[in-house]
Symmetry: C2
Subunit: 330 residues, 2 copies
């Protein structure tokens, strides 16, 4: 009653096991009549070749790529979905399989287990920290991976990331051209998360360059937190006329806070938010947006990993994507 094997088929078809194997893989010519006999035996017995044994014997890879997404929010944002669809598109095109590894923790053990089990050939990592245990482990174990984001020390790493300097530079250029002098930044207060750290640094750099005094207000990921943050900012600094918000979700709340004070956007106040996702489509107001080109970045990350897996040289393994500033429509 056990699952039939190649040996069973061979017996039934009156050939050797190797012939069955070759008939399956088409790696050498088989006469038409034995091919037919084998075919028939396969169907009669319902052979389903054991892929684990095949992998062991032929030392082949799984052709699966693990996309590692720590679930920071219980909800997945539209931005995360863009990364996912960009990566999975590129992965499928290259005839690999996309596997989403969505875990609530960031433990390296989990990844190691996947790699060792042969489940995946390599990883694409999201939500990269400045010091990232997962990166350390993967590097130590010699497991192929690519980052979307980057660490503090990136020697030897392959990554794609946002050109945050460019993002803030162009935002400041746009805002100052419209006459703004007080440009606040509603930032994510997280000194581990690479993006937050770098964005903060580049905000200060932009302030320097444009001769504007920095105005910071930390802000969480929800609309409510955006509202609270903007209210707190406007209470303390009524002179502010423009703000950059680190995510589009709190932007919704921030906009409400501004409007509740009777200030019109963009006439009385300008707001730029990082990335739009489905959420911006739902708000009655669409702000100016820094489009970080998430899908392109993710597709490139996937291509990098595939190159790594196939021992293709990568000319520029640390790639920054300059984002596009998209002005609001409503």
């Amino acid at each position: 009653m056990k699952r039939p094997t190649i040996a069973d088929v061979a017996t039934r078809a009156g050939v050797s096991r190797s012939t069955v194997s070759y008939a399956l893989s088409n790696k050498r010519p088989i006469s038409e009549e034995t091919r037919l006999r084998i075919q028939q035996a396969i169907e009669e017995l319902g052979l389903r070749p054991n892929a684990t044994a095949k992998r062991l014997a032929s030392r082949e890879r799984s052709r699966n790529i693990g996309f590692v997404l720590p679930l920071v929010t219980p909800e997945m944002t539209g931005l995360e979905m863009k990364f996912i669809s960009g990566a999975s598109r590129a992965i499928n095109q290259a005839d690999y399989t996309f596997i989403l590894l969505a875990h609530s923790d960031r433990s390296p053990e989990n990844l190691l287990r996947f790699a060792e089990s042969g489940l995946v050939d390599g990883f694409i990592l999201m939500e990269v920290y400045m010091q990232d245990d997962r990166v350390d482990m993967l590097q130590r174990e010699g497991i192929p991976f690519v980052l979307i984001g980057r660490c503090a020390d990136n020697t030897g790493l392959t990554y794609v990331d946002v050109d945050i300097q460019y993002a803030l530079e162009s935002s400041f250029a746009h805002l100052t051209a419209s006459g703004h002098q007080a440009i606040a930044y509603l930032h994510k207060d997280d000194d581990q998360y690479g993006f937050s750290v770098r964005a903060l640094r580049e905000y200060h750099a932009a302030c320097d360059r444009f001769d504007i005094s920095p105005l910071l207000q930390s802000c969480g990921l929800s609309p409510e937190e955006g509202e609270v943050a903007m209210n707190s900012l406007l209470d303390q600094h009524p002179e502010v006329t423009a703000a950059i918000v680190w995510s589009d979700i709190p932007t919704v709340g921030a906009v409400q806070a501004i409007q509740a004070r009777g200030r019109q956007i963009p006439n009385d106040f300008s707001i730029i938010c990082q990335e739009h996702s489905i959420i911006s489509n739902l708000a009655s107001f669409v702000p100016a947006v820094i489009d970080i080109r998430a899908d392109e970045m993710a597709a490139q990350a996937a291509q990098f990993l595939i190159d790594l897996l196939e021992d293709q040289p990568i000319e520029q393994p640390q790639l920054l994507f300059p984002p596009k500033l998209v002005l609001g429509e409503r």
Copy 2:
């Protein structure tokens, strides 16, 4: 330069391969001193046991569960995330691993490949059609799976699903108690998708029971389509005072259409939408909502699959969850 194997470690430690294997698995006592020698050899060589070989030799399962999510929208909705988090929580608790298989197609071939490769032990299927190729294939091949949703013919299937009859019944009870006589349904027009078909049927049944004449308007998944649908409905049937919308996303647009005509919610118009996700938090208006308890359903589906995999009997393998009607707050 190849990866070291158990044989290499055995040679270096001066023991047999089986002793190394037993030292690794702790399946029989090893003397302290040979254990130490083996341990040292393992570390010196950096042994990483080949999990594929182990699986083949010990005929064990992967303990991975595939959560199959056809990407109907490019964006993943908050509702889908609820299913994912509910299922992954239950799966992790049972010491299995959650793998999200997010594909843009619904091809059975893909699933078969995963199952045969030994990558996953079984599947949880989302977006089930009345006639579903994937279900047919999995049944034919004898691969364990559980549905979130159901087919036309469900003999022998294990599933969890929304009690749609209850959902519409309680919505109608609520609306008629408030005096509504004209209750429209903005439905998804899809005669393959089980949920749509059943919801439509139950809407008609509820109309019968409450003596209300059916008023249908088909409606897509985006806010824009919700707006268009509601406008079209109100143009043709200005007498309508209440509507049930099949998803929360178009509800956002539908609400705008209603408000644009100067009608107040809930005073002049009542609206109930199926499920809230992050999106409802963003709209300035929160409608009454049919909470389908997605996380509980998904967790139950996961438990069913684990029971199936571990040959545990399932007393009620076809389970309907009565949803909760949650009234709006703003």
